[in-house]
Symmetry: C2
Subunit: 341 residues, 2 copies
């Protein structure tokens, strides 16, 4: 029982390069939109049967090498006592901006407060029957803090940065609570059956490398160390971190997720043989004709130069306007070209 995806996470050679796509369960699939026409995004996350169903859709359709739980990184944050809405981007009606608000946050007993996450994982393991491994995931503490302090998405997240600089103690108390919540949340995913964990640090790259080191790295490292003790591979994806990979590397994990702005070959040279990598096709390339997609797959495989420990993926989530047939072509292309076809 050795999945190519897990083998590659562990830096071992595989017959062909395993591939999955970030947000592979999502809006570009008509079968996903059919379900979403009946149920809101948040209700879908909280319904184990439906969450499991949309998780499996791309496994059936794309024949990817891993399933990733359909959920949202803000689910555990809502359980900390924050009011979450999607309109359609996430909005917290009560952003956390002072000591009192941080104190009021709870570190939830996740099994009781977000049981649907673990029920979905249990269901999925049953339904997958070992076809492909199941990836669990969560947000990195800093990315969660960005949303909690800003209250919504932002171009520059000036509000959390201001808190970080003006009130570092409050910031650190907040990060401690988020890190502990995330630890519980993700350990319980592993206990429920997640066979790998991806940490998404969508906003870690908005910081100068020196600030990343001071304000982000200690928390991501603490979280990843706790999860690594459980023996499943940890994928750490910090978007926009191409100029500070060595620093991000110190957070640990077996696999570094790479966005498309980071040359994969150079990243591997910098990170060394010990660390596997995941990535890194520009999601927009799926708008291109098949010949261009094939050229890009070939280029990325050539940048990897046959090294073990490469999981093919996009450099960020698949875009909603993508033709599902193009996504399926990409997966076939990776399999074919990486097995000498």
């Amino acid at each position: 029982m050795s999945f190519p995806f897990i083998e590659a996470c562990r830096g071992r050679a595989t017959d062909r390069t395993p591939v999955w796509l970030m947000r592979q369960a999502g809006r570009y699939l008509p079968q996903y939109r059919a379900i979403r026409s009946r149920v809101s995004f948040l209700d879908l996350c909280k319904n184990p049967e439906l969450a499991a169903e949309v998780t499996l859709q791309p496994v059936d359709f794309l024949e990817v090498d891993a399933a990733i739980l359909f959920s949202d990184i803000l689910i555990p944050v809502e359980a900390m006592g924050m009011e979450l809405r999607y309109e359609p981007g996430p909005v917290f009606t009560n952003p956390v901006r002072d000591a009192a608000a941080v104190s009021a946050l709870r570190v939830p007993v996740v099994q009781e407060e977000v049981p649907f996450v673990y029920e979905a994982i249990t269901l999925l393991r049953q339904e997958l029957q070992g076809r492909v491994p199941l990836i669990g995931f969560g947000g990195a503490p800093f990315t969660l803090a960005c949303y909690m302090v800003e209250g919504q998405g932002s171009k520059d997240f000036a509000t959390p940065k201001r808190l970080m600089y003006q009130a570092p103690r409050i910031y650190r108390e907040l990060m401690d609570k988020i890190t502990e919540t995330s630890r519980r949340y993700l350990e319980a995913q592993i206990t429920a059956g997640a066979e790998a964990i991806q940490i998404f640090d969508t906003w870690g790259g908005i910081l100068a490398p020196t600030d990343y080191r001071r304000f982000v790295l200690p928390y991501s490292r603490r979280l990843i160390a706790a999860l690594e003790a459980h023996g499943v591979p940890i994928i750490h994806f910090v978007k926009g971190a191409g100029a500070m990979l060595e620093t991000v590397r110190e957070a640990g994990g077996q696999v570094m997720g790479l966005d498309w702005c980071t040359p994969l070959g150079r990243a591997r040279d910098q990170l060394g043989e010990e660390m596997a990598v995941q990535g890194n096709l520009d999601p927009s390339v799926l708008f291109a004709p098949e010949a261009v997609i094939e050229d890009e797959v070939r280029r990325i495989l050539e940048e990897n130069a046959g090294r073990a420990g490469h999981i093919f993926n996009l450099g960020h989530g698949i875009l909603p306007m993508v033709d599902p047939q193009k996504a399926a072509f990409l997966v076939r292309c990776v399999h074919r070209l990486s097995s000498g076809g």
Copy 2:
């Protein structure tokens, strides 16, 4: 008559590090907001007297080492025949998405169609009387294309990327027209009296390095080469390019603008002695207490390690919520610490 700013652009040693701030004429200044309460953003850009007045405000208040023309990168695009509104972000009501729309674009006779730009420069040179040099500026062709095709700002500019991959000939025809417009627009700024030119490529960093090389570099290089022939320093700022500085360097220019995600010391090592650098404080640091600002200035000066050819700046535009006193403190701090104070 040797300005420290110009000397540093040319890679020569200066008594103290010159400093200016991107968007130093802007919303964080009450004296700017006072004028904007009477006139719209676009009308302000088009009124030479008022544009000159707001250009000078930060020169008086901050005592920076350079003035930068108050204007907007989309001014020449409007003159190509596009309808521009601010609500408050830029919106083109007729985005360019097919061959017919590209054909319909004009390459304007800039002196006739945007005369206010050149009148403002003439006025400014008179009013500055050699106090500090005047920087002119424009958008890089790719960044202008992003707005023209998408029609507005965007997280991922999927529409221009789709055009680039699906219809490379139409994309290249568009880029040719923009590059020629930009060449005329910026050459006329130099003729009118601009003593340096900054090219803003705000979105160049959203591309994979291989795509940057194919779809952006030829146009930026062509534009910069034409401007360099006039003998004024060219600053080339590509945001988010930390993982492909060597590629961006091939576009030419005397100074590479660095965002705050790129370690300045490593960038200098990569770029070599021939190229000056500008940057790279995180604009959010201006929310921090003065002691933190001072530490960050010291860190950046230490990363530069006394090398000639460093212009201090933020890594992107100053944020609207910043206290003007903090900006003035920053400028004093750079001057004091870089002159051994």
